[in-house]
Point group: C2
Chain length 398, copies 2
């Protein structure tokens, strides 16, 4: 059989993380590569109790549900969103299979082949893959530690007439950045004027180390959902657990409705057992106290890794201490190719993601992303020693 | 904000079932419309126990999983498939968010705009929606109670050079048909020769009323997965419960791998909590005994509805008694438009799906689909009375 695959496979780059996992198969590897939360803090007992409550609801709990998602969970999430100054109704929300599906659904309803999408530099690689598979033209906007540079954003909007700007303004993946309030407002204003849609991806916003700092979402700055040019998405993957695969998107009800139509034909609806479990969890478990707990542990792990990075004393090494989220973005000396260092690192028993994979264009090859949330103290120390060893061997062979 | 949606929205017809649900909102309606299993038989206690076993596995159960799906469940399903003479390895299987996602993923990796897909006449409407949204050209092959008519299939393959043939050979939706063995073999042979891929959709195969009958799947007739031109998909939605949203597809490992790549960017993976729960359910619960139970009840309900149809005495009424599955396909007198009858039926408090929605082309307006699995005896009797009343009023007004 000669399979005649779609041409959309051509635009489809293989995931670097996936290739790395192949390299690590069967080996004992300390991984700073994935974006995994720490398993030891998963609230498994509360999850078990919440599921029991679902079962107690009776057999109807196992029937088909709405494409839009379990309504009590949407109502509950509306209340949580309101606490963050995002005011929406359940009709302005769609529950999805993780926030990854939001990126995919929006691309399906909004992007045609050849349409332009602007992204940060660097940005989330699995968003790039979705955009590429649809045949979009992706340009990156020059960015610094405060977010996209407004002059470059305005220039690229004028030049390319993009349909969409994709951003992770709070504790970005991979750079761990927080956009300044000024840049958030600037993004909103410039895009509103040019009628460009913004997808604000916020999986990490709750993992904030400075309890006093306030980082208002772009969606909240826009005011209301109706007619808004901002769609906001988040997920339970980092705050409760990834296995539920439950995310949500809020925005104008017309856009939400179009996404729901595509979702209906994509999978009818996401697991309503999981949605019901999360509803009961929100009702009976102090999720905010739980988030405070993981913030504390993640900050401790971040500080440990930062300290170990400081100890490395590689000339030309640069990074910013993250204010939240799950990643440290590291710039290596200019002559180092992180992809090559990676191969040596895997030999030594440690993994990370080479930064080049996070660029829409002109990759910076001397960068890498380190995850600090998944690995405990002992293994973080050990892993960083292995990384130092890998660099030593790499430099000897260079 | 002037939203600039993708042109793929143009090809997107609204779901008739969805429109019907709108008509019925807030009303007490007896529905023969949906494809819903009967809630009263959901094995909720076994599900609760299976979930407890997942929780007992420890916190790792809540971490990210593989895109391909929870491996022990794939292994377990391989054993179930082998019992039906379908021999595959876990690498030749992908777990999905219901079998609906299989249709979507295959369309994404295999179909380009303008490609031709052949379908049965009539066929599953949500498959038609997926194909239409991708911009495929869909032609229906003349079909009778034994399946597609081979001469027409061969002629249309020669004429249109299709990439894909989509079929539901066992207890089809909506027609409730079972393909003869001869036609199954014919389909396989003709498509193999012309290098046309077959998607065999089998959500209802387990709901078989005659325990002695044997309906080998087209996939099993093809022999092995490697290099095969048959992909086979099924789901737990009709045998355990829909809320899990867990389906699977088996086929050549290269095709499966491409579908997994698209799935990764579509939603990373489906709920692994649900997949783990189903694994423990298969290990500790007699699913086959459960299926025997629901077969018995569904057959009883089918016979009740067939008896009530016989009592209607509408001139020109035609149907075939189903050998399994969830639907009776009814041909009304030629001058009746089921869509108009439907509006009257909703007034009377009963719903069905007008058959015209299940045709890729040249719809037969005098047809309707009745579901017999979801409604109990009392309401089935009452609903059929309401349907008779609706017809009476309809004929008076005609």
């Amino acid at each position: 059989m000669n399979y005649r695959f779609s041409k959309s496979l051509d635009g489809f780059s293989s995931s670097a993380v996936r290739e790395i996992l192949k390299l690590t198969q069967g080996k004992s590897i300390i991984s700073f590569a994935g974006g995994l939360p720490a398993e030891e803090f998963f609230p498994i007992e509360a999850v078990g109790e919440a599921f029991q409550r679902v079962i107690q609801q009776g057999k109807g709990a196992l029937q088909y549900g709405l494409t839009e998602g379990y309504k009590p969970l949407r109502e509950s999430l509306c209340r949580r969103m309101a606490n963050k100054n995002m005011h929406v109704t359940p009709d302005e929300m769609l529950l999805t299979t993780g926030s990854q599906q939001v990126i995919d659904l929006l691309t399906r309803v909004y992007i045609d082949e050849g349409d332009v999408i602007l992204v940060e530099r660097p940005t989330y690689l699995a968003a790039l893959q979705v955009f590429q598979a649809k045949g979009a033209k992706i340009y990156s906007v020059d960015s610094d530690n405060d977010g996209m540079i407004m002059e470059d954003l305005a220039a690229k909007i004028a030049k390319y007439n993009p349909k969409l700007v994709y951003v992770i303004p709070t504790f970005s993946n991979p750079a761990g950045r927080v956009w300044s309030l000024e840049r958030r407002k600037g993004l909103l204003e410039i895009c509103k004027k040019a009628e460009v849609l913004i997808l604000e991806d916020d999986p990490y916003g709750e993992i904030q180390f400075d309890g006093n700092a306030s980082y208002p979402t772009v969606f909240s700055l826009a005011g209301k959902a109706e007619g808004s040019n901002v769609l906001y998405t988040s997920t339970f993957s980092k705050t409760v657990a990834p296995a539920f695969r439950t995310g949500w998107v809020i925005g104008d009800s017309d856009v939400i409705r179009q996404m729901a139509r595509f979702k209906q034909s994509a999978d009818l609806h996401s697991s309503s057992i999981d949605q019901q479990t999360l509803y009961h969890l929100l009702e009976h478990f102090d999720l905010d106290a739980h988030i405070a707990l993981i913030r504390e542990h993640y900050e401790e792990r971040m500080k440990l890794m930062v300290g170990l990075l400081e100890g490395l004393k590689w000339p030309g090494l640069k990074w910013e201490q993250p204010k939240g989220g799950m990643f440290i973005w590291v710039e290596l000396p200019e002559n180092i190719r992180a992809e090559d260092l990676m191969k040596q690192a895997v030999q030594e028993g440690v993994a990370f993601v080479p930064g080049s994979t996070f660029f829409a264009e002109n990759p910076q090859y001397n960068t890498m992303r380190l995850n600090y949330t998944h690995t405990d103290r002992e293994n973080t120390v050990l892993g960083m020693q292995k990384l130092a060893k890998a660099m030593e061997v790499y430099l000897q062979n260079a």
